[in-house]
């Protein structure tokens, strides 16, 4: 089942010009001079398999002995967030594809970015940057375009995630892995059965001294901007100024800015309501789950908030490009995708997986919000030099 050799990354282009028949290379217009690592065994998965059959899709099977074929390398080096797939997930892939996988972990996009910057992108094959970081990595030529033909399960993605504002254009550099939101979480044991619908809650004096906001410029500024009815990617100085004033006003009501301890603070009834990432809120939810219910609630305010998506991308100087494609295709599989979401309780961009996702997760509006809320959510976009406006405002808030 021959697979069309239709797209290629620019490294392959450099490698193959003048050597292998580069038939059907498209989408190379405007490529901005990639870096060639001079490794072996890269290349597009161009040997066979034309349709989107699932399960072990890109098994290569090409005849060539080196270079340009789709042979899956026997090694894969992954750089991933901590605790982001169920136990046995990696070993399942290793057995199925006969690839030995080594996984290194990071805890923030910036940490990952700095590591790649300092030691070169060749250290890892597959990384999992969040939306805005895809944009940054792409601009700096640190990731390579994907060979969608090698991803037989790509069509499993829901329409909403197939299009990505952070990764526009013909060529794709990233494949969504999991997504989530930020909103307001609270423990009923602490504040009673309150009704939270708006960001206004976080400015409610009734909860003075027992609230916290995320210690993250764009998240917290974003919440204030949304409350004011602006876009959280605004570059208008006056709007940023207004959000700043609002957050300074809020400061007296807060116990702290915190993005690492909030699940614990929810569980131990220390702080509520608080500004939370959905993942941390669900962690607290399950930690306190007893007799079919939990006192932890998570709400996405009606004004909307941040939606984020973590993606998989292949580094520019990856040594094991085919294995990386195979790994991406593996998690795009419907059942595998469901398995991940049933473990993490983050939303899955994988529409085909919904069949296998637990009903508890699927029907939970704080994981899968309704369409109207969904339309109010925004990605945090890279806004270039305007970032400085945000960090200046943040600094003034912190030292006000």
């Amino acid at each position: 089942m021959p697979q069309q050799q239709s797209t290629s990354d620019r490294r392959t282009f450099l490698r193959t010009t003048g050597a292998v028949s580069a038939a059907g290379l498209v989408g190379l217009a405007g490529c901005s001079g990639g870096s060639d690592g001079g490794d072996g065994g890269s290349g597009d998965d161009g040997s066979d398999g034309s349709d989107g059959s699932d399960g072990g899709g890109s098994d290569g099977g090409g005849g060539g002995s080196d270079g340009g074929d789709g042979e899956i390398e026997d090694e894969l080096r992954v750089f991933q967030w901590g605790d982001y797939w169920p136990d046995g997930f990696v070993s399942g892939f290793e057995e199925e594809y006969d690839v030995s996988v080594s996984v290194s972990l990071y805890s923030s996009n910036e940490e990952m970015f700095n590591a790649l910057n300092a030691g070169g992108t060749g250290q890892y094959d597959l990384i999992f940057p969040s939306d805005y970081m895809v944009n940054v990595l792409n601009e700096q030529d640190m990731i390579q375009s994907l060979n969608l033909d090698a991803l037989s399960n790509f069509g499993n993605l829901s329409e909403m995630f197939e299009e990505a504002p952070y990764d526009p254009g013909e060529e794709r550099y990233s494949v969504p892995y999991q997504w989530g939101t930020s909103g307001i979480a609270y423990n009923e044991e602490m504040v009673g059965d309150i009704e939270v619908t708006s960001w206004e809650t976080m400015w409610n004096e009734e909860f003075g001294g027992q609230m916290s906001m995320l210690d993250d410029v764009r998240e917290t500024m974003g919440a204030a901007l949304k409350y004011l009815g602006y876009s959280l990617n605004t570059t208008e100085e006056s709007e940023i100024e207004e959000a700043k004033e609002l957050l300074i006003e809020q400061k007296d009501l807060l116990a702290t800015y915190d993005s690492s301890n909030f699940p614990t603070n929810l569980i131990n009834e220390q702080l509520s309501p608080l500004h939370a990432w959905s993942g941390g809120a669900f962690q607290a939810y399950w930690e306190t789950f007893e007799d079919g219910s939990s006192p932890i609630n998570y709400v996405i305010p009606e004004e909307g908030g941040v939606v984020w998506v973590d993606t998989a991308a292949i580094t520019a100087e990856a040594q094991n490009v085919n294995a990386a494609h195979a790994f991406i295709d593996h998690f795009l599989d419907a059942e595998v995708g469901a398995e991940i979401t049933n473990y993490t309780y983050y939303g899955s961009p994988n529409e085909a997986a919904e069949e296998y996702i637990l009903d508890d997760v699927l029907n939970n509006e704080s994981i899968y919000p309704d369409d109207e809320t969904m339309s109010n959510l925004e990605y945090i976009e890279n806004i270039g030099q305007a970032t400085t406006l945000y960090s200046n405002a943040w600094q003034e808030i912190k030292s006000a």
Binding site: S108, E110, E111, F113, N114, N117, V136, E139, Q140, D216, V217, R218, K251, L254, A255, T256, Y257, N261, N268, E269, Q270, N382, G384, Q385, T387, T388, S391, W394, Q395, E396, K398, S399
Partner: protein
């Protein structure tokens, strides 16, 4: 035979090594090479890179721009000079603001505030001084007790007890303080039994919590040098002073304390420097208003993605540290 010649060879080697080491020039190379290599590669070189970065500019994607046209003092200017002011104006604003803040009563000198970075820097220095003073007040009597009053056979045990907390990780101990200070903890529930203290009160996320954390972590560095000074004091001098008519306090103040001063100075430096540059403690124990310069620097290298400004901040902080060491040396301290 073989063994013999081996022995002889190693004898010659040993001699050679001795000669090389004793020679004024080669000796310096051999003895200093390992530490020089270590410090050069892992301390000086990265420091030089950061120093260079501090003159750069931030690119649109958080990368560092270091082309000639980007180099300059703009990050330092940004750190010290509020927008729309001249350098002189900034000096005046900062001084006026400091006088306003430190001396109560005068509330009108400064018309504009200095940059948030400068305010943060002085706040961190303030935390550092406060932590040093508290460590001194709490640590000096303890060192005095261990070095002079405690029976000699227990001295070593007491010193070990001072060092004991270092057996547990720094981070674990900070989390332990977090548990103690949060609402409904054992400690806070005990406090709630007191009159005028409300149930469910918490000391977490406050300046007090940060100060407590700083003192708790760094106080051994005050106690140990003071102890070693006090231990060496000849206490018959105290008796002599009292024989000559000094009372207990005078004898301590004029005879004993001056002799323990080197220890106090060394201890103060050792507490002040890590306290003013603290990062983890305000991060984990602090509230909305307890950010310190260390957090700011970490932010610039992390989420804010502004390495040049972070580097500039780090070098300003380093300048403060160097100044405090200079002050210490002028105050008669000896770093050795």
């Amino acid at each position: 035979m073989g063994r013999d010649s081996n022995n002889r060879a190693s004898g010659i080697d040993a001699q050679l090594v001795q000669r090389v080491r004793r020679n004024q020039w080669t000796g310096a190379v051999v003895n200093l090479a390992p530490s020089a290599f270590w410090l050069g590669v892992f301390f000086l070189a990265p420091l030089a890179v950061m120093f260079f970065y501090s003159f750069g500019e931030r690119g649109a994607f958080g990368e560092v721009l270091l082309a000639t046209e980007n180099l300059g003092l703009q990050q330092y200017r940004r750190f010290f000079v509020p927008e729309g002011l001249s350098v002189l104006g900034a000096v005046w604003t900062t001084t006026a603001w400091l006088i306003d803040t430190v001396i109560p009563g005068t509330q009108s000198l400064a018309s504009t505030q200095p940059t948030p970075y400068v305010r943060l820097l002085f706040k961190s220095i303030g935390y550092g001084i406060l932590a040093t003073v508290v460590s001194f007040v709490v640590g000096y009597p303890m060192a005095y007790y261990i070095g002079h009053i405690a029976p000699e056979e227990y001295q070593n045990l007491l010193v070990v007890l001072v060092i004991l907390p270092f057996w547990a990780s720094f981070l674990v101990r900070i989390y332990a303080i977090q548990l103690l200070l949060s609402a409904n903890s054992v400690l806070m529930s005990a406090f709630a039994l007191l009159p005028f203290v409300e149930q469910g009160v918490t000391l977490m996320n406050s300046r007090f919590a940060v100060l407590l954390g700083l003192v708790y972590i760094w106080i051994p560095f005050m106690i140990l040098p003071v102890y070693s000074s006090i231990e060496e004091i000849d206490f018959t001098l105290q008796e002599a002073a009292m024989d000559l008519g000094a009372d207990r306090f005078e004898a301590f103040y004029h005879v004993i304390f001056p002799q323990s001063k080197p220890g106090v100075m060394a201890g103060s430096i050792l507490v002040f420097i890590p306290s003013a540059g603290a990062y983890v403690i305000p991060e984990l124990l602090g509230g909305t208003d307890s950010q310190m310069i260390g957090n700011f620097i970490a932010d610039q290298f992390g989420s804010a993605g502004h390495w040049p400004l972070g580097a500039a901040g780090a070098f300003v902080l380093m300048g403060v540290m160097l100044l405090s060491i200079a002050a210490y040396q002028r105050g008669g301290g000896d770093l050795a």
